[in-house]
Amino acid sequence: MDFVVNTLTLTVRFAVTLMIASMGEMFNQKAGIFNLGCEGIMSVGAFLGMLIPFSMVGAGQAPGYVNILGLILGTVCGALLGLIFGIIVITFRAPQGIAGIGMQMFGVGLAGTFFRSFIGGTQSITGISSMEIPLLSKIPVIGKILFTHNPLVYFAYLLVPVAWYVIFKTPWGLKVRAVGTHPRAADSLGINVTKIRYQSLAVGGAMAGFAGAFLTLCQAKMFNAEIIGGRGFIAVALVYFGQWHPIKIFLGALLFTFAQTLQTQIQIFVPQFQAYEFLTMLPYILVIVVLAFNRKSNRLGPAALGKPFNREMRV
């Protein structure tokens, strides 16, 4: 019982990282930009989320505003990196897959460089600790699973319906979808394709940065150069898995985090199981299998995904 409750509680808490990152990636892809650099942006966000609390109070309990400051800085720098990626793939119209790999290496390298020079080695922080919501957390089982998290978790879950509303119900969301589906038609109706794409990259980058900062502040509570460990790539894959729909992406994030948490929990609860590497592989194999059996979903995606738009080009 402990095993089940623990696994589910951690799944609810840790799903936030993947969820926010892939929600941001969805904004990018809806506008037609395939941002493989998500991993790098998350890495920088994760580093900044650690840097502010660590440099101000060290390993001790940081007051709330310090953690929030780290979170905000991570988000802002994520948005900036998104814009830099925009310069490469929107203004220069570079191939997005390769540029994304460049962005990933740049982000991970940058975070590693600053980490080594400002923090040195692996250090842990207290981060944002979880709190129990009065009354609700006293409900047996469900109370522990759903109502023992920090406020940030609830805020993050709130972002799912918000993202859905923004992308499907607001004029800006309509423009984003138009730009990702048929940029030329959107252009002829007076939508500034370049501007909308830059905006969506800033939003996506901000969310990736937020996800990274959340990872260090609430989940890992430490930082090292490899901390993201492929979560950025899984976030990109989740967008395919969720067929570019916020609610489905949300469910996908829960599923994958469940797979990841399950394997760590098995390692803790069943220590006699020796070949734990095979459990660690599980989420990654799951991604491949899901993508392989989901081939139809490729056609549901934004029609202009990955295609640079050039206004001057003859059709």
Binding site: R93, I101, R116, M281
Partner: protein
């Protein structure tokens, strides 16, 4: 007459290099390092002595082999960023053979290990190729995921089946490969090993494959325009898979060479980022086997500088990874600017406007 084109291209490249150096300088200043000293260490240290020069060369060998494979796959229209995982698989296969072949002659064991590494890497490259050709799975995602799978499998292998029984400290590592399975060093006191011959042979082989054979022609056609190639009767998915297998085999062989020539045993983190650096090298060498040779030398220098930076400066070696990412970003942007006829025309009008007018009068 046409020299404005050349001037345009050269000035674009110069501006790009300046931007890369400037961003790098900003990072170095931010971590409190000395910019010129850092750059000077990166460039000058390899040429200090023959020994450090050979250190560059042994880093160049796996880079070159991997980049050749990536060039093949990229020319066929599939980007292989799974070289890291394919290299791990190659190391596992080569280690399994190299540590279990006592008593056999060297001339037999060394090629056997390299071939085993190539086969293991090729099989691991087959998976994303097949997934892309048959099930339309994006190779960018599948190869990255397979990297993590391979890394886990590798650490399992060196922790359990291939573990060195004599190792008591608990560090997972394989047994040292026997003398009959090592690539001997070429010069006394220098780390340069025979693997460089394999790299040179592969340059020639890949060049011939890409530009002088029907296979290579069909691969390049499939990469240039999939629809046109299909219309021309080329079985695109078949060549996609073949190119991925070749690419994986190259990475696997690079792993075997790294095992037998440098490390001598399989240890943790053995690929050391060669897989991703290989992508940068292939791009930097314009996906051409002959240009990849100087490109891999340049990145050998860069990777070797990680060691020197750690010893001689306060700049963390992770800087090199950030620089590599920066170089990719700048290369892809520069390629687009250079091949853009519109901006070239604008450049001509801006700086060569007079010549254009006189031309018109003559006409």
């Amino acid at each position: 007459m046409n020299n404005y084109k050349l001037i345009y291209k050269v000035s674009v490249v110069v501006v790009a290099v300046l931007i890369a150096l400037m961003v790098g300088a900003f990072i170095i200043i931010a971590v409190g390092g000395d910019v010129f000293n850092t750059y000077w260490i990166i460039i000058s240290m390899p040429f200090k002595s023959m020994r450090s020069f050979s250190e560059v060369l042994i880093r160049m060998i796996p880079l070159l082999i991997i980049a050749l494979g990536i060039a093949v796959s990229s020319r066929s229209g599939i980007i292989n960023i799974g070289a890291e995982g394919q290299m791990y698989m190659g190391i596992i296969a080569a280690t399994a053979i190299a540590t279990n072949c006592q008593g056999l002659p060297k001339i037999l064991v060394v090629p056997l290990c390299i071939i085993a590494g190539g086969i293991a890497g090729g099989l691991f490259g087959f998976i994303p190729g097949w997934l892309k050709a048959k099930l339309e799975v994006s190779e960018l995602l599948s190869t990255v995921m397979l990297n993590y799978v391979a890394a886990q499998f590798f650490s399992f292998c060196i922790r359990v089946p291939l573990l060195d029984p004599a190792e008591k400290s608990g560090t997972p590592m394989s047994r040292r490969v026997a003398e009959n399975a090592t690539l001997s060093r070429l010069f006394r006191g220098m780390s340069l090993h025979q693997g460089i011959f394999l790299a040179i042979i592969l340059v020639v082989v890949i060049y011939i494959l890409l530009f002088k054979t029907t296979w290579g022609y069909k691969m390049r056609a499939a990469g240039a325009s999939e629809r046109a190639a299909r219309y021309g009767g080329i079985n695109v998915s078949k060549y996609l898979i073949i190119s991925m297998v070749i690419s994986g085999a190259c990475a696997g062989m690079a792993g075997a060479v790294e095992l037998m020539g440098v490390q001598g045993r399989a240890v943790e983190q053995m690929t050391g980022g060669y897989g991703f650096s290989g992508v940068v090298v292939a791009l930097f060498g314009a996906l051409h086997p002959l240009w990849i040779v100087p490109a891999s030398f340049f990145f050998g220098i860069l990777l070797y500088s990680q060691v020197n930076l750690q010893i001689l400066t306060s700049v963390p070696p992770n800087l090199v990874k950030a620089l590599q990412g920066l170089i990719i970003l700048i290369i892809v942007a520069v390629q687009m600017v250079i091949s853009n006829p519109y901006s070239m025309e604008r450049f001509r009008k801006r700086f060569f406007a007079k010549r254009g007018k006189t031309k018109k009068k003559e006409a």
